[in-house]
């Protein structure tokens, strides 16, 4: 409402100045309008600061309130809950201090879940990085159908984890699934209980499915990074007689560094939070062979109503993610942030 009024007064002010006949007056009028505009001063003087603050509040408040109410408050609540024994009803009275944390950290299922998360973090990067790079370099060649190929490679990433999980669950069915059938055809046979039903294979099977699902993201990001490598570098290396292989190793990979490091960071955070795919494929089984921290806390919270334990597990999940993020930032991402010109200089040299 007020802004409409302000606009009209401001407009009247501007149109009024040329009306004061002499061109000089008009010029001064415009000159004075300049400072007036960014900080609507004049009669509003002290009011302008207030008005600015009101505007800021008006613009930021909805997002901030939503964020506070549904993100910050629940997170604080999680920390609070983690200090109580609470079954989901009645007031929080049974204060147990750090006991929930002790019990979570002494729980073999949780430590197993933490291990699985860390294995998935390492395996995701170790598998997807070389594969993703290879496919990105492959698709970066000028070839027929390049655009279609780039679309296709990204399809699994767009599907919901649930949908991808359900399809793979069917493919991996023991005996009747197509994967067992194909193994049969070449004279091999899958494990008796199926890949997802055998504790030794289950986690690696989940990792294979995750690789299928998320490889496309790595490829698309690496391809974008490759677009940023100046064409001249390839020409120069060509003139210097470098082989294709040398060119990739000495020019492409180093210049792709920042993209790779950021991608690995995203992949790591995602792996630590893994829930959907595991829940669909194995529910954490068989014999807790594929639990993750997220499946642990959901099981404790919603199936057993151990809200205190679940909250403690979620706080630990956050701390693990935060520590890894900080370490990563400190030792790996720092290079990108600290000295963004370094790589460019190297290019020029």
């Amino acid at each position: 409402m007020t802004d409409v009024a302000d606009e009209t007064t401001a407009r009247v002010g501007v149109t009024a100045s040329p009306a004061t006949s002499s061109p000089q007056a008009s010029a001064t009028g415009r000159a004075s309008a300049r400072p007036v505009a960014p900080a609507p001063g004049g009669r509003r003087g002290t009011g302008s600061a207030l008005r600015k603050r009101l505007e800021i509040a008006f613009f930021v408040a909805p997002a901030l309130l939503l964020f506070l109410f549904f993100v910050v408050v629940p997170i604080i609540r999680a920390v609070q809950l983690s200090a109580y024994r609470w079954k989901g009803y009645g007031p929080l009275v049974d204060f147990v201090g750090l006991k929930n944390y002790v019990s979570v950290l002494n729980n073999d299922v949780f430590t197993g879940a933490l291990q699985h998360n860390l294995i998935i973090v390492v395996a995701s990067v170790a598998i997807q990085l070389p594969l993703g790079l290879a496919i990105a370099l492959l698709l970066n060649r000028k070839m027929w159908g390049q655009g279609v190929l780039r679309t296709i490679i990204f399809v699994p990433y767009v599907l919901a984890e649930v949908i991808a999980g359900v399809v793979w669950f069917q493919l991996l069915q023991p005996k009747y699934g197509v994967i067992d059938a194909m193994l049969d055809a070449v004279g091999l046979s899958g494990p008796e209980q199926g890949f997802l039903g055998t504790p030794e294979y289950a986690l690696w099977t989940v990792i294979v499915v995750l690789t299928w699902k998320y490889l496309g993201l790595a490829v698309i990001l690496f391809l974008a990074g490759l677009q940023g490598v100046p064409e001249e570098l390839y020409e120069a290396s060509q003139i210097d007689g470098a082989s294709w292989w040398q060119t990739q190793r000495k020019i492409t990979l180093p210049l792709l560094g920042p993209t790779i490091r950021t991608w690995a960071f995203l992949s790591m955070i995602g792996s630590l939070q893994l829930f959907d795919m595991v829940w669909i494929l194995t529910q954490g089984g068989p014999a807790n062979a594929t639990t993750t921290m997220a499946t642990f806390l959901i099981t404790e919270g919603t199936k057993r109503q151990n809200y205190g334990i679940a909250a403690a597990a979620s706080v630990i999940l956050f701390i693990v993610a935060l520590v890894l993020a900080l370490l990563y930032q400190r030792f790996i991402l720092r290079r990108d942030i600290q000295d963004p010109t370094a790589s460019k200089k190297k290019v020029k040299a």
């Binding site: 606009e7 401001a10 300049r34 505009a37 505007e55 800021i56 613009f59 930021v60 997002a63 901030l64 939503l66 993100v71 408050v73 629940p74 997170i75 609540r77 999680a78 809950l81 492959l138 060649r141 000028k142 070839m143 027929w144 159908g145 190929l149 780039r150 679309t151 490679i153 990204f154 399809v155 599907l159 919901a160 984890e161 649930v162 359900v166 399809v167 793979w168 069915q173 009747y176 699934g177 197509v178 067992d180 059938a181 055809a185 299928w212 993201l217 990001l221 677009q227 940023g228 064409e231 390839y234 020409e235 082989s243 294709w244 939070q273 829930f275 669909i280 959901i298 919270g301 956050f318």
Partner: protein, 298 residues
């Protein structure tokens, strides 16, 4: 031959024919190598194979699937798909998914652009700190807060409602939205704002008439990311929604466990459930990819 023109993403448009020719001779661009095509084909087969198998599986009977799991439909049957399409639950879940995704997207885009505006174009004390609050939000996955969130939403009486899912989803999508939109708004030239203010527009007027129309692409990007995120979400709906309020991912998971012996039916249900996301993706491909790349570049 048309290889050069087939790559729309190639950032080297104003190239002279000479350099173009030179490029083709370099090792990097030896197209037409059969080995390269063979490898690319293998990658494609592995990527779409499972999806395609699911779609084709929907056209087979369970007897066919059991007899030869790797075969083609013979004969093609439609009843799996018609069965799903005449299943009122499927449409109910699709409606729930759509409404929740639209609500989430609307909240994220409107609140996100509003918050990004002062953070990008106002100078005030505490601006960077305010921005940091949102950036820190990136560090908190919904999983960490999921249990208290579940309790909070239930206490608010929004336990089994569209809004109960859309509001927290929007809240958790806000950080990435603000992080993407702020540099976008900062990149708009200052002259535009000066000119507008000189012409007597208030800052709100500037926001409404100039900034908003110009930031369309940025809003579409964050909107698409929010929509796809909501459409595919599983954990929060799993905790909050029951019976006929369920979304498609929940419906797919339910169907798969309830009728696990009806493999062909599961394939049909799953294939139909993935169509909206795929169509949306194909239509918005550039935006999604740009958004993700923008998020990575920071």
């Amino acid at each position: 031959m048309s290889a050069g023109t087939l790559a729309p993403t190639s950032a080297t448009s104003p190239k002279s024919p000479r350099t173009r020719g030179a490029r083709r001779r370099t090792g990097k661009y030896t197209g037409g190598n059969p080995l390269v095509y063979a490898l690319a084909l293998a990658v494609v087969a592995l990527t779409v194979g499972p999806v395609l198998y699911g779609v084709l599986g929907g056209f087979r009977t369970n007897a066919q699937l059991a007899e030869s799991p790797a075969g083609m439909p013979d004969p093609w049957v439609l009843f799996n798909y018609t069965g799903v399409l005449t299943n009122p639950n499927f449409w109910r879940y699709a409606l729930n998914s759509t409404v929740i995704a639209l609500l989430t997207t609307a909240l994220v885009v409107v609140f996100g652009i509003m918050a990004a505006y002062p953070l990008a174009r106002y100078k005030f004390k505490g601006r960077e700190q305010l921005f940091t609050v949102f950036v820190l939000g990136l560090l908190f996955p919904a999983t960490v807060a999921i249990i208290p969130l579940f309790i909070l939403i239930t206490d608010l009486g929004m336990g089994n409602t569209w809004w109960g899912v859309a509001l927290p989803q929007a809240a958790f999508a806000l950080p990435v939205t603000v992080v993407i939109l702020r540099p976008f708004l900062q990149a708009l030239p200052d002259e535009l704002e000066e000119a507008a203010l000189l012409d007597g527009a208030s800052r709100i007027g500037f926001f409404w008439r100039i900034l908003l129309p110009l930031s369309g692409p940025g809003m579409v990007t964050v909107g698409v990311l929010a929509f796809v995120g909501s459409w595919n979400a599983y954990l929060l709906p799993l905790l909050l929604l029951q019976s006929d309020m369920k979304t498609l991912p929940l419906g797919v998971a339910d169907f798969s466990s309830e009728y696990s012996s009806d493999t062909a039916g599961v394939f049909a249900f799953t294939s139909l459930a993935m169509i909206p996301a795929l169509v949306f993706f194909l239509a918005m491909q550039k935006r999604i990819v740009n958004g993700l790349q923008g998020a990575v570049k920071g």
